[in-house]
Amino acid sequence: MSTEGRGQVWRRLRAQRAAVAGGAVIATLVLVAVAAPLFTAIEGQNTTAYHPELVDSAAGGVPLGSFGGISADHWLGVEPGTGRDLFARLIYGARISLGVAIGATVVQVLLGVVIGLAAGLGNRFLDELLSRTTDVMLALPSLVFAIALLAVVPAGFPRPVLLVLVIGLLGWGGTSRIVRAQVLTLKSLDYVAAARLGGSGTWRIARRELLPSLAAPVITYAAVLLPLNINSEAGLSFLGIGVQPPTPSWGQMLSSATTWYEADPAYVLLPAGFLLVTVVGFTLLGEGVRTALDPRAASRLRVGTGRKREEASV
């Protein structure tokens, strides 16, 4: 994509209020997640310290005080039962959620692009093989297969990395299908034929001529994948098969919250809220990116290119 094209996409993105809101939410979350140690240092808490004095052991471990024990020391209250600081656990949970989702999306996109390119450029046999494999990948209930894969890996393997790999390996089907379709269209265009006549090999054509044109659809689809991957990680951790304690994750907090929703609603609402805001934020941003990159949709936005405006003013 040329610099001018990039500027134009950026302008179209900024013209959409919902996308800007989603982007702002995500940017804030990423910032908080990256600076999590700083924030917990300011608060003076950590994710693991137990505070039995902050929960009412007579009432089964419900946090003392209102709204789940919110206080100047514990900004979002404490976990029922253990009294661990919720703010610290939530923002460290954001690290897991965002880290796993972004990592898995990268794996999915890389695999999808490579496989889609190979299917689109390869011979008939390779195309048939890869396309059928893609169909299978898309048809599978990926959550079930993620569960099965996670079951066979020994407990010692670092869990977040494992989640990135499993979610990534099971989710490349959509990208590869889109890339293959794009490649088939692009292949027949004159400029690719010209490159071929000019003596470029398949690899060079893929890299120099096709990849740049694939950027827009792939980025659009990656934006759709991100919130799905956030939900996958949360779901697996909710089932107790994802991130293992004591590492905090939102899905895991929600799973333990299922026994507390009556006594301590705040403990349910906080991780649920964080998760929802993140997913909706990514979805809005993704929708905006799609509109910004789609030349047909963009005309509805009534955002001219910079150049046109200049011409008009002259």
Partner: protein
């Protein structure tokens, strides 16, 4: 008619191929997994004596492809397992045997199927009513407000994980309003009324997630049909708007809705893991999770394969239904 027959045969053939590929991959994963396969199959609490039996049953001395072949053979013809006291016959389709509980996977599936089916059927009825209904309304009353409401509903509905919807429903109806008791599954054969009351919340949780998709599809295909020439001709002849929508336009929206339902119904059988776990419904999904927790790998393998089966079957059925319902589809 021959076109339809070849289409059906081709579709069935590709479904079988997919299932074969699936079983091979699953088997390979379990074989390649680090550690002793016998120990993996038997579980962490397995004694030396039992381990030797497992080794004999799995015939670990044979080459991998032969082991896989025996596994496939077991599915078609059944398989004999030697236990401490004698042999246990696992009838076809034999998907394996749990060394921890001594149960056969097929038996487990049969036992857990009613709960999963209860969940899937009720949820599907609800999401069809909610989804098609709201799609219909928003297509007929076109306007900024309905359009925005539907977009918002679709966005939140599809983005919210089912366990969040579920917990919020539990909080609202069981804890705050106290209209419903905390759900605990009652089999239909025992007490149909209690069965329904205890499944209402999971049904709604799933329907909320799924119906958004149906609303969008119904709306877009209705709008498409309503803009077609023949509908304009009906209008010109003075056919009422109601008749146009119900008798003509809705018919055009049916094929995608039917196909999608078939697919989602299959996925429910293979993937209502989260809903079943949250609401404590003793179905296939919950069994999968508990087997993972107890490291009962033969059950994990068998159940996963069965779930893949349901989904592949549902996809094939969806394709066939779509082709039958929409005569515009060219059969290949």
């Amino acid at each position: 008619m021959t076109g339809l027959l070849t289409f059906l045969l081709r579709r069935a053939g590709s479904a079988v191929l997919v299932l074969l590929a699936l079983s091979a991959v699953l088997y390979a994963v379990f074989y390649i997994a680090p550690g002793d396969p016998a120990q993996l199959a038997c579980g962490p609490k397995c004694g030396a004596e039992q381990l030797a039996q497992v080794r004999q049953n799995l015939a670990l001395g044979d080459p991998v492809w032969l082991q896989y072949w025996h596994f496939l053979q077991g599915i078609v013809t059944g398989h004999d397992y030697s236990t401490g006291t004698g042999t246990e016959h696992c009838g076809a389709p034999c998907l394996g045997l749990s060394y921890q509980s001594g149960e056969q996977v097929t038996g487990i599936l049969g036992e857990k199927l009613p709960a999963t089916a209860s969940l899937a059927i009720g949820a599907m009825v609800l999401w069809l009513i909610m989804g098609v209904g709201s799609g219909l309304v928003s297509a007929v009353r076109r306007g900024r407000f309905t359009e925005r409401a539907l977009t918002g509903f679709t966005l939140v509905g599809t983005a919210t994980p089912v366990f969040i919807t579920g917990i919020l429903l539990l909080m609202l109806f069981c804890s705050v309003l106290q209209w419903l008791p905390y759900p605990s599954y009652v089999p239909f054969t025992e007490d149909p009324e209690q069965w329904a009351w205890n499944l209402v919340l999971p049904w709604f949780a799933l329907a909320f997630l799924e119906s958004a998709k149906y609303a969008r599809i119904t709306r877009s295909s209705l709008l498409e049909t309503l803009a077609e020439d023949h509908v304009r001709t009906f209008r010109a002849y003075g056919v009422g708007e109601r008749a146009i929508v119900w008798r003509h336009a809705l018919r055009g929206a049916l094929p995608p809705v039917i196909a999608l339902s078939a697919m989602d119904f299959g996925t429910m059988f293979g993937g209502a893991v989260l809903t079943e776990t949250l609401f404590g419904i003793p179905g296939i999904g919950q069994k999968l999770v508990t087997s993972v927790r107890t490291e009962d790998l033969p059950v994990v393998l068998g159940v996963t394969l069965a779930m893949g089966c349901f989904v592949v079957l549902a996809n094939a059925v969806a394709d066939v239904l779509y082709a039958l319902a929409d005569r515009r589809v060219v059969l290949t």
